[in-house]
Amino acid sequence: MASVTGRERSFLDPAVVARIGSLELIARTIVEGFFAGLHRSPYKGFSVEFSEYRPYLPGDAPSTIDWKLFARSDRHYVKKFEQETNLECHLLLDVSASMGYASHVVSKLRFGVCLAAALAYLMHRQRDAVGLTLFDDHVVDSVPVGTRGGQLRALLAGLSRASPGTRSDVQMPLHQLAAGLRRRGLVVLISDLLDDPAGIIEGLKHLRFQGSEVLVLQTLDPAELTFPFDQPARFEDLETADAVSVVPAQVRAHYLDRMRSLSERYRRELRLAGVDYHQLDTATPFDTALRAYLATRARRW
């Protein structure tokens, strides 16, 4: 796979992309920029597939006649195609208050929204049926899975309404989704996963048990990963409004250690559960997430 050039990468930079107003344009910019770097179409073999020939019947569009076959057989046959839309994709976006955190221009929620839009755009182009669920401690908004012409617009409209909510309860939508799945599909969870890890893992296992492929994109702020603070401050929890006075130098090592432990736990236990897990930070170009998605999809289908 060819690498992404610097110019193209700039269209994948969250800080650049976040300045674009239209979510559709964002999605297209990300995906087109991503594909421009790949140099070969990922759509090949996915859009439509040849099914059978049948004799031409009056009323059929002449354009559907296979003229090459007519030349060989001197009969009019019509090519019949079958659309390959047997994949259901579910985008789960965490819109809890903690996702509103931003140490620079892009919040985790904004990053997640852009990423979800790009994935939706990409899935829609691939003729996949895509649905969207926004949640915090309950389902805030959802767009049912579908492939109709206005599906992408509905998805993007749903994403554009996303705003930081209240406390997060990640396992709740996972169980709800697992209970409502009619067929196996792909579930993409975009969340900071700053919740009870046992519950989250349990929910993801539930989805796996239902036969779905699961891609977890843990979205974190760089400050959450490096804890770069140096001045004593009173840290206030965005979800609970609790506060604690902290001298960063005193707690940094402990904090980072706990964060590493958390990530390691997700990585270990989700791998065992067959869940693809990727940790992203909001400064990471979107192509990393798209690659992860494509890799997961290619592996399964």
């Binding site: 603070f229 009173r234 130098a249 005193q250």
Partner: protein, 637 residues
């Protein structure tokens, strides 16, 4: 022990502790608020670490507050006080100031005075410390501040002496005893007016002065002066009171009654003529019979022994000199000796001639205290030891007359410029021979030498000098000049002594000075001036005691000074007048010593603080605290 401060105003600087306190609290209260996605992991800091940090923060605060306090304390200059002392110093006091001058020694005068003093002790308010101070021309604290019993015992033991009254000294001593306390001074005295002659009385603020009149005799007779004429002896008789009465006046010389007269003594002073002159030796005692007044002033003593001649050492050049040197030395010594001891008789001076090399010999003893002055008529052969001895004599208060002579003296005087290490230089110039003789002119008629010459100072100008040695005055004072303008007599101060340099010989060779009538007076006044440092008076007033003779001079009469001399001690004649002021006048004469007591206490505090120097310890502690603060602060940050 209690802590006091020399400069307590600096304690205000301790308020600076508010700075770290406020900073600490503000920092605690005003930490910037920082929204964060999840504080679970921040809460999860081990509790022990957080506690330790809080402990460090409080410790830091304590250290910073301590540093500020130590700094302020150090500048306030603390010192430790005995709390008992402090309580003692604030307790009010009553001091009984009892007059022990001889004006309290009249018959039946002491007992009432003691009774008044005891009454004052008993009447001291409850809670007052009581002390007793006796005073005349000196002051004695006979009972320190404390219990009344000790004060009563001290009063019982007090007796009047022969000294005069000095209220100012007594009040000052009583005020010093009271210190900064509130209290009162009860003065038990005969209110003698003469006691105020020596100055005003001052007492500390907050101290009341109460006067108890011990009374005075109805009259008093005293001999206040004795003079002698060639034909008779005059005594001045003082009678206190308003009534004239007969009095018997006697003249005794060495226990032999020479004359006795009965006179009518008028109030005030009466001159009594005793029809015999005083002899030239012995001790004359003039007495008067007085059964009413003070006893110690009934006699007055007069020492008739001629004054001892002042030893004068004449150092002449020795060794091998130029031709004629010996003759000239002999000439100078002849006239010097004649002038100082005319006809070999005992005069005011006792000249002793010594050759220079003998004076500088190791075996020669140091110049004793009896040597009044030294005349250096020639320095040839003096040597280093002799020069050092001479210089030491002058520096320690002796008088030296250097006679310049009229000839070059390369082996003697010319080397004496280094006598005092070059400061001052004798400034002897090369000998000058004058075709026209020059005279001698006084330059400073107020100088004791010239003043002593009186009218004869002008006659110095008639003296003719054909040979002189010009002098460089340098920093010295020119007392006389030759008529050619050159300095003739220059005075220098050397240490505690005096140095006079004369720019000509004192013999007949080269001048007619020895034959002039001014020669002897000039020499006598000069040597008297040089030997005036001899501290040996022979007549004293009680209390005016020279060093070492306190015990002797406290008792009127004739005493042996221990060195073969006799001393005469009389009472102060002013004390014989019992004229009194009223208690109101007495109190009105006492002023308030506004700041002396405070100054005294401050001086004591400063001395105590200087001895302890706790500020150094505090500053060291502050440095240690700051170092600890720095180390701890680094760990916290």
């Amino acid at each position: 022990m209690g802590l006091s401060f020399l400069v307590p105003a600096f304690l205000v600087g301790g308020l600076a502790v508010l700075v770290p306190l406020v900073l600490h609290l503000r920092r605690r209260e005003r930490l910037p608020r920082l929204p964060f996605s999840d504080i679970r992991f921040l809460r999860g800091v081990p509790l022990e670490q957080a506690r330790r940090r809080r402990l460090r923060e409080w410790l830091l605060l304590v250290l910073r507050v301590a540093a500020v306090l130590l700094f302020a304390l150090a500048f306030a200059r603390p010192f430790l006080n005995d709390t008992d002392d402090a309580a003692f110093a604030s307790q009010p006091a009553t001091v009984v100031l009892i007059d022990t001058s001889f004006s309290m020694s009249a018959p039946a005068q002491l007992a009432p005075a003691r009774a008044l003093a005891l009454e004052a002790i008993d009447a001291a308010p409850d809670g007052h410390l009581v002390g007793v101070v006796a005073f005349d021309t000196r002051t004695r604290v006979v009972a320190e501040l404390g219990e009344r019993r000790a004060a009563r015992s001290a009063v019982e033991a007090v007796t009047p002496g022969a000294r005069a009254t000095r209220y100012a000294d007594g009040l000052a001593a009583a005020g010093a005893l009271i210190g900064t306390r509130d209290g009162r001074i009860v003065v038990v005295t005969d209110l003698q007016a003469g006691g105020w002659d020596a100055g005003d009385g001052l007492v500390p603020p907050g101290v009341d002065v109460i006067v108890r009149d011990a009374g005075r005799p109805a009259g008093n007779l005293a001999i206040v002066a004795v003079e002698s004429t060639p034909t008779q002896t005059l005594a001045v008789l003082f009678r206190a009171g308003t009534v004239a009465d007969d009095a018997t006046v006697s003249l005794w010389v060495d226990d032999e009654l020479l004359a006795e007269v009965v006179v009518t003594a008028e109030p005030g002073h009466t001159t009594v003529r005793l029809p015999v002159p005083l002899p030239e030796a012995g001790v004359a005692t003039v007495s008067v019979t007085d059964g009413v007044g003070y006893g110690v002033d009934d006699r007055r003593y007069r020492l008739l022994d001629p004054p001892e001649p002042t030893p004068v050492l004449i150092v002449v050049g020795g060794g091998v000199g130029a031709d004629g040197d010996a003759a000239r030395d002999a000439d100078a010594v002849f006239y010097l000796q004649r002038a100082l001891a005319p006809g070999g008789s005992a005069g005011p001076f006792l000249p002793e001639v010594v050759r220079a090399e003998a004076y500088g010999a190791p075996t020669n003893g140091e110049l004793g205290p009896r040597t009044g002055a030294v005349v250096l008529a020639g320095g040839r052969g003096l040597g280093r030891r002799g020069r050092e001895r001479l210089a030491t004599f002058v520096r320690e208060g002796g008088g030296l007359l250097v006679v310049g002579g009229h000839a070059a003296d390369p082996g003697g005087l010319d080397r004496l410029d280094s006598l005092f290490g070059g400061e001052p230089e004798l400034g002897l110039g090369a000998p000058l021979t004058h075709r026209e003789p020059v005279g001698l002119m006084s330059q400073d008629p107020r100088h004791p030498i010239m003043r002593g010459l009186g009218g004869q100072a002008g006659a110095l100008g008639q003296t003719r000098f054909s040979r002189t040695r010009p002098l460089r005055a340098g920093d010295g004072t020119v007392l006389a000049r030759f008529s050619d303008g050159n300095p003739a007599l220059v005075e220098h101060s050397v240490g505690a002594g005096r140095l006079l340099v004369f720019g000509a010989a004192l013999g007949a060779d080269g001048s007619d000075f020895p034959r002039r009538a001014t020669f002897v007076p000039f020499l006598h006044e000069t040597l008297a001036y040089l030997s005036s440092n001899d501290p040996r008076p022979r007549e004293f007033i009680v209390g005016d005691s020279p060093v070492g003779t306190v015990a002797l001079t406290d008792v009127p009469g004739v005493h042996d000074a221990g060195d073969g001399r006799r001393l005469v001690v009389n009472v102060d004649p002013r004390e014989s007048d019992p004229t009194a002021v009223t208690p109101e006048q007495f109190v009105a004469a006492v002023g308030t010593l506004s700041r002396a007591a405070e100054r005294q206490e401050r001086d004591a505090a400063r001395a105590r603080e200087s001895g302890q120097q706790l500020w150094r310890v505090l500053l060291m502690l502050m440095i240690v605290v700051l170092v600890a603060d720095g180390l701890l602060g680094r760990r916290v940050v």
